[in-house]
């Protein structure tokens, strides 16, 4: 199973600044392993961000996003105590959802 994300959400003037770290290899599909074989592409293809269950952001990624991806986005109309949920799914169908409380 995928390792948990680290989500931080800090509210200032009604806007939540959300910073997310995800553990993922993000293989490009162009790297060769030590035996010279091409390592197949493996990357997070979609990420969604939600405030109290309502989707606010949807990201579509390719393998050009760096390993162990970092995503920062801003959510309007947020206050301390709100729930920020982030989910990702990769091109193999593996997925992960984590939640943080805005402070």
């Amino acid at each position: 199973m995928a390792d948990p994300m680290k989500i931080r959400a800090v509210v200032r003037n009604g806007v939540a600044d959300v910073r997310v770290l995800m553990a993922h290899e993000m293989e490009t599909g162009q790297r060769k392993d030590s035996s010279g074989k091409l390592v197949p592409a493996w990357y997070i293809s979609e990420v969604t961000g939600a405030l109290n269950g309502k989707q606010v952001l949807k990201a579509y990624w390719g393998p050009a996003i760096s390993k162990n991806p970092y995503l920062q986005f801003k959510v309007k109309g947020a206050k301390a105590g709100d729930k920020i949920t982030v989910s990702w799914v990769d091109n193999k169908g593996e997925k992960r959802t984590d939640e943080a409380t805005a402070s």
């Binding site: 680290k6 553990a23 293989e27 760096s66």
Partner: protein, 275 residues
Amino acid sequence: MSVIRRGAVAIGAALALLVAAAPTLSQAQSNTQAELEKYRQMLGDGNPAELLVMRGEGLWKTKRGPKQASLEGCDLGKGPGVVPGTYAELPRYFADTDSVMDAEARIVHCIVTLQGIPRADAVRNPYSGAGQRQTDMEALVAFVVEESRGVTINVPQKHPKEIAAAQRGEKIFYFRGGPYDFSCASCHGEDDKRIRLQDLPNLNKDEPARRAFATWPAYRVSQGAMRTMQWRIYDCFRQQRFPELDYISPASIDLITFLGVRAQGGKMDSPAIKR
């Protein structure tokens, strides 16, 4: 004394450079430095090593090995079970092994003695390779060092073996060998030097020596992995064109002891994030 002399030489060299460089080139160089600073600052916003710290904490508390024990009873120098602040005072002398050990050597010791995992297994693949998940060892080190963030570096020099280790470490620091004739000091003995665009800390000077020790282990974006202090030394020697340094070998611990003593008074700020 030698530090002062080297400092003077470095200042002279820096002045000579300033005079020699054409204005357009030095201006371009300062723009380069400013943009690199921006790059490094933007990276600082989110360090993937935090993910490894979480994994390491979980691993530390997990019962593993033939003895089905966790590492929570590990004595890292402040007594069994105490993790906070320990990294800042390692390497140090441990009476139970009658030797000076760095953080990684001590963690291996605990894995062997508390969990009953054979030493050969514990040290077999300490560093993750390209495209591999970070090793358990790397995760454990990430957790341990995080617990010393902000703590003042105070590598002890009380026991005769601690003093001897630092003295040997200094000799190793200046040991020139291999087809390139390099020693550690070849790259880390003067102020304001770079390889390509990477700043090289002058480990003869207090401030850069503190900063360097304080920011290892670090997440290396070029490798997509957090690397430990043992790895830092290992890979320096690789680029020095030396043979392969053994994990937690005596020379590595001596050198880390020397660097730790040089860094006295700095504040741990690790895991850091670097190119």
